[in-house]
Symmetry: C2
Subunit: 228 residues, 2 copies
């Protein structure tokens, strides 16, 4: 499958490399290819310069946002949530129309430290905002409830634990489920939260998630939904 990963940070690289490793044709989208490749210092999260990472992933082409969007049959939004709408505008509505837009971003405000607050919550969510802004895209919210190493390798957390999907389009959720199963998520571990408004629960859980990460002193954890 042709997949465009929008964003060049740690999440993006991890997901892009995992998808390429599974045999997908993957491109990464960025605002300005030249600037992205020109960086020589680690970013604020300690990720090495993109050009350095690129050398180990020559099969993953770096393209401007719009070209990446045009290439992808599935588009992944893994940008900083606070900038997602702007980045997706640069990808372009026409390049998103009719496509699966897998949104795994969190709208985090880290200005007050950890655990972060959200830039949108309670009465709205980033997933819903993106669906409203790009009504012809088939937005599916998923993966945002675990750390990025766990996203692509659920076995980092032992035993049974769950992942959520939310979106208005059943076929799009089916495509996303296929990608998740490819990462190693058992089909039975993927819980459908219904329409895209389910993104609100998935995003608001992040406060508990980051609080737990603090007290557990690890991001290698997840929740399992246990029912009678």
């Amino acid at each position: 499958m042709k997949i465009a990963v929008i964003g060049t940070g740690g999440v993006d690289r991890t997901v892009a490399a995992a998808l390429a490793g599974l045999g997908h044709e993957v491109v990464v989208g960025t605002r300005n290819v030249e600037n992205t490749l020109a960086g020589t210092e680690p970013d604020g999260f300690g990720n090495p310069p993109y050009a350095q990472w690129q050398q180990d992933h020559r099969e993953i082409r770096l393209l401007p946002f719009a070209e990446a969007g045009a290439f992808g049959e599935v588009v992944l939004n893994a940008t900083n949530g606070a900038n997602s709408l702007e980045a997706l505008e640069a990808v372009g509505s026409a390049n998103l129309a009719g496509k699966v837009l897998l949104d795994l971003a969190l709208p985090l405000d880290l200005s007050q430290g950890m655990p972060p607050t959200l830039t949108v919550a309670n009465t709205d969510s980033l997933g819903e905002q993106i669906q409203r802004a790009f009504p012809e895209a088939k937005v599916v919210k998923s993966l945002n409830s675990v750390a990025f190493p766990v996203m692509v390798d659920p076995s980092r957390v032992p035993g049974e634990h769950g992942l959520f999907v939310a979106g208005n389009d059943e076929d799009a959720k089916h495509v996303v489920r296929g990608l998740l199963v490819g990462f190693g998520w058992p089909a039975g571990s993927i819980i459908d939260l219904g329409g895209i408004s389910g993104a609100r629960g998935a995003e608001m859980y992040s406060r508990l998630y980051f609080t737990l990460a603090g007290v557990l002193e690890t991001f290698d954890f997840n929740i399992a939904v246990v029912r009678a």
Copy 2:
């Protein structure tokens, strides 16, 4: 232990009855005893009239808010979260000072149906508001992450699943842990989220909780935290 349960709804009655069954001396606090006993119709959630419930629980005295607060060594806030601060004002700061105030309320706004939004979230929480309003009380947030039948009988959900506590006072959390263990929660299932700001994660999880309840079509579920 002398325990005052503030509120007369379904949660309050369930928790009060369970605590009395465990041998605690339990009173229920209400704004106006006469009015509470005068009701002859089920409430909005289908709970039978209080007077009817009272007949089956004669050992649990119904007292005005302030008298109940004065009686309790531990005070439980199980009022509607939107009214909690007002109800606790009626209980009175002096009656809460130095005591364990177990807050299991959720600040739900049900006016737009299910799943509810929260009247406070993201940058604050009900637990934090209560602690600020009653600085001499030892507020502990817990139990709010499960349905009230599960609160007092975790075995309704099979296997391992977790509960959270958050609060600034370690001794108060120790007292609450004791009550939770009394309800049947294994000590190892109780996760300490740290200070009272941990209430924010526990409360914001409620959006996911109510979304899950909708898709699972049951409230007999819970989450387990799984870690490497």
